[in-house]
């Protein structure tokens, strides 16, 4: 919805804009979709000039179709698969987190979402030596736990410190702060900001997305949905344009008090992540303390859903993956 401005393209002068505006044509879309003969007659402008301007505007603003084969080649060279540090989780995700996509982890409180996120951040930072951006909206990021995980993976202190420095943590507690943090990231990646503390960034973790969106939904205000969609657009375009893997965590809710668990944020959000994992623990937690969790695949573009694996979020030790058991679809 770009407003027509003088100098937007050669041939578009200020008087022309005033005449067009007087006849109700203010934006590029209005101009390009109107009948030029009519416009030439009403505004007493030259038809040829208008056609020339339209051609330039279309070239500037329209999207070009891309060849499928070219797209495939480009994806092959720019997509990376990031191992999560836990082989059974990698198996669930078809060998790891794909860059250019949004992956969602959902689970009840205490199911281990933050632990898995910390594990992924540790593995990417230490194993792949890539930078990680951790957007924390719940205050649950604990650096000492991350340090514990790093110490379990390597003995070298130098490497541990470097890995810690590669993980940048930004605390965002409402939607506007989150959006401006993402905007800042985009500007840094585009090179518009001189201060670039973000090295080769490959992973963005957002823990959790429902904490910033929930205060906006419900009640009688409708802008919550609009902001949620804006956030999803921002995350997906960042992932695609800069080849990042984006991991978000989400809550689960119930219908009434006895219904089955379902992911929070509703149907609109369910189209945003391409892969969804559900984390749960086996029995009621305060009867028997355990670090075992079960991860099941709820949505995936590549694997059949319903596959389950067991994870141990305590030490990062991995158990044998359990045999494929179809779980209830979500």
């Amino acid at each position: 919805m770009v407003v027509l401005r003088a100098g937007l393209c050669p041939g578009l002068t200020e008087e022309m804009i005033q005449l067009l505006r007087a006849n109700g044509i203010r934006t590029v879309v209005d101009f390009v979709s109107s009948d030029l003969e009519n416009v030439a007659w009403k505004c007493s402008l030259s038809y040829k000039a208008l056609v020339a301007v339209r051609r330039v505007l279309l070239a500037q603003f329209s999207a070009f179709p891309a060849n499928g084969a070219d797209l495939y080649e480009e994806l092959k060279s720019s997509t990376a698969i990031l191992p999560t540090g836990s082989p059974s989780l990698d198996q669930l995700l078809d060998s790891g987190l794909y860059t250019g996509e949004v992956t969602e982890l959902m689970g009840a409180p205490g199911s281990g979402k933050t632990q898995v996120c910390l594990g992924i951040a540790a593995s990417v930072s230490l194993g792949l030596k890539q930078h990680v951006l951790f957007l924390d909206s719940t205050g649950g990021f604990t650096a000492s736990r991350l340090y514990q995980m790093l110490r379990a993976q390597t003995e070298d202190e130098e490497e541990q410190l470097e890995a810690l420095q590669r993980i940048q943590v930004v605390r965002v507690f409402n939607i506007y702060e989150l959006l401006s943090a993402l905007q800042e990231l985009r500007d840094q990646l585009q090179g518009l900001c001189v201060v670039s503390s973000v090295g080769p960034l490959k992973l963005v973790v957002l823990d959790s997305v429902s904490a910033v969106i929930y205060p906006l939904l419900g009640g009688r205000q409708s802008e919550g949905l609009a902001l949620m969609m804006q956030l999803s657009k921002e995350l997906k375009t960042l992932a695609r344009e800069f080849s990042l893997a984006v991991v978000v965590t989400n809550q689960v809710t119930r219908d009434g008090s006895t219904g089955p668990l379902k992911p929070a944020l509703g149907r609109s959000w369910s189209f945003v992540p391409s892969t969804r994992l559900l984390l749960e623990s086996r029995e009621a937690p305060w009867e028997k303390a355990t670090t075992q969790r079960v991860a099941s695949l709820a949505k995936s573009p590549r694997q059949p859903t319903g596959v389950q694996v067991e994870l141990d979020i305590g030490n990062g030790d991995v158990l044998e993956p359990s045999p494929v058991t179809p779980a209830q679809g979500l």
Binding site: M1, V3, R5, A6, G7, L8, T27, A108, P109, G110, T114, Q115, F134, T138, G139, G140, T142, A143, S144, R145, L146, Y147, Q148, L161, L164, Q165, I167, Q168, V169, R171, F173, Y176, L179, S180, A181, Q183, D187, L192, S210, A211, Y214, P215, L216, L217, G218, G219, S222, E223, Q230, Q251, V252, T253, R254, S257, T258, L261, A264, A284, A289, T291
Partner: protein
């Protein structure tokens, strides 16, 4: 008059100028008008000025001025915000956070088993939630923490003040007096045992009157008062910068009755949770909430679960559940970012003030003190206090 966007000119300036109109905190009606008129970035708005803006989108001069004020604040705010709550200063590497965490103190609970499963005590900058059935000891622990936060640093405390927000009316001042008196006694005993200069100096200011005068008490009768109190807390905390603990005793109570619109309740609770997280983070305080339990009736059995629903479970970073197992009280750490889940038994024991004869604990109902079984540190003195053979006095 607008010109093509000169990106190079703004290369080193604040990136917020590029922020899209959709992400600025303006009223929705205004935002949709701006979008319809074709404005895309904040910089375009600022360039147009109030007169141009009011003409373009058909609002009055005053409204245009107000909107530009908001935009300007948003753009310049990042550079000039106070250290209390700036988006820019909330960014750091994991290494810096680790160093910060390692130097942060804990608020001890005087029960060393509980402190151990919590990883040292109640953590600052995090929200801790205590859930339990009535009568299990939640308010007792809150009152104990309000006293413990004030322990001077040389005795292992954080030397802070406390804010107590009461929604149920269960705060008993005479109980706090007893707890504070016992705490002062313990510190005196340590000072006598260790004979250090700074201990004696600290004890001069650590007296009963001082402790009580540094607990700020607020009484909220319904959910609106509670929300208002929480949203006004940041100002209060900026004036009283020594506060290190905010206790909200009974977060479930105002929300559990008389709420027809459940989606409104979820929205309010989530907004409240985010506000509390901001308070905990920006002012380096520990936030402690107490919650009730409710019954979930399943297909074959019924279980006790924390109240306020599934979405509230995500608000607290650390969750403790107090429950009964036959006649033994148990505390379970259910959710924590750095500690494993574990359960410990605890007792609410009786402390013997000087001058009383030790009788059977069950008849001494007036004075109770929350302490646990342990033999290390400060708690060793409380155990010695209670052995009948020693405390004959």
């Amino acid at each position: 008059m607008r010109h093509p966007f000169p990106y190079e000119h703004f290369r080193n300036k604040s990136f917020v100028f590029f922020s899209l109109v959709g992400t600025l905190p303006l009223a929705p009606a205004l935002r949709s008008r701006l979008a319809a008129a074709g404005f895309q970035t904040a910089q375009e708005l600022l360039d147009t000025g109030p007169c141009g803006l009011s003409k373009e989108i058909g609002i009055s001069r005053e409204e245009a001025l107000e909107a530009l004020q908001v935009v300007r604040q948003e753009c310049h705010g990042d550079a000039a915000r106070t250290p209390g709550g700036s988006g820019a200063t909330r960014k750091c590497t994991a290494l810096e956070l680790l160093e910060e965490e390692q130097t942060q103190g804990f608020i001890i609970t005087f029960c060393s088993a509980l402190d151990t499963i919590l990883g040292g005590g109640v953590q600052l900058t995090k929200i801790t939630e205590i859930c339990g059935a009535p009568g299990v000891g939640k308010t007792q622990l809150c009152m104990q923490l309000a006293v413990d936060v004030q322990i001077p640093e040389c005795f292992g405390g954080v030397a802070g003040e406390a804010v107590f927000v009461d929604t149920e009316g269960s705060f008993m001042v005479d109980r706090v007096v007893d707890i504070a008196a016992a705490c002062v006694r313990h510190c005196h005993l340590i000072a006598e045992a260790q004979q250090e200069e700074d201990h004696r100096e600290a004890l001069e200011t650590f007296s009963l009157e001082n402790i009580l005068s540094h607990i700020y008490y607020f009484r909220c009768r319904d959910y609106i008062e509670l929300l208002a109190q929480v949203y006004l807390l940041p100002e209060f905390l900026s004036e009283h910068s020594k506060v290190r603990l905010v206790v909200i005793d009974g977060i479930a109570f105002p929300f559990r009755h008389d709420f027809e619109d459940l989606s409104l309740r979820t929205r309010l609770l989530n907004g409240l949770a985010q506000q509390l997280i901001i308070i905990a983070n920006d002012h380096k305080t520990a936030v402690v909430l107490t919650n009730q339990m409710t019954t979930r009736i399943g297909q074959s059995q019924s279980t006790l679960v924390p109240a306020l629903g599934e979405s509230w479970g995500h608000a607290a970073t650390v969750r403790l559940i107090f429950h009964w197992d036959n006649s033994q009280r148990l505390a379970t750490l259910y959710k924590s970012p750095s500690q494993k889940e574990s359960t410990i038994p605890y007792d609410i024991t009786v402390s013997i003030p000087l001058g009383w004869r030790f009788t059977d604990g069950s008849t001494l109902s007036a004075v109770k003190e929350f302490s646990g079984k342990s033999d290390k540190g400060l708690c060793s003195l409380s155990v010695a206090f209670q052995l009948p053979s020693e405390g004959k006095q």
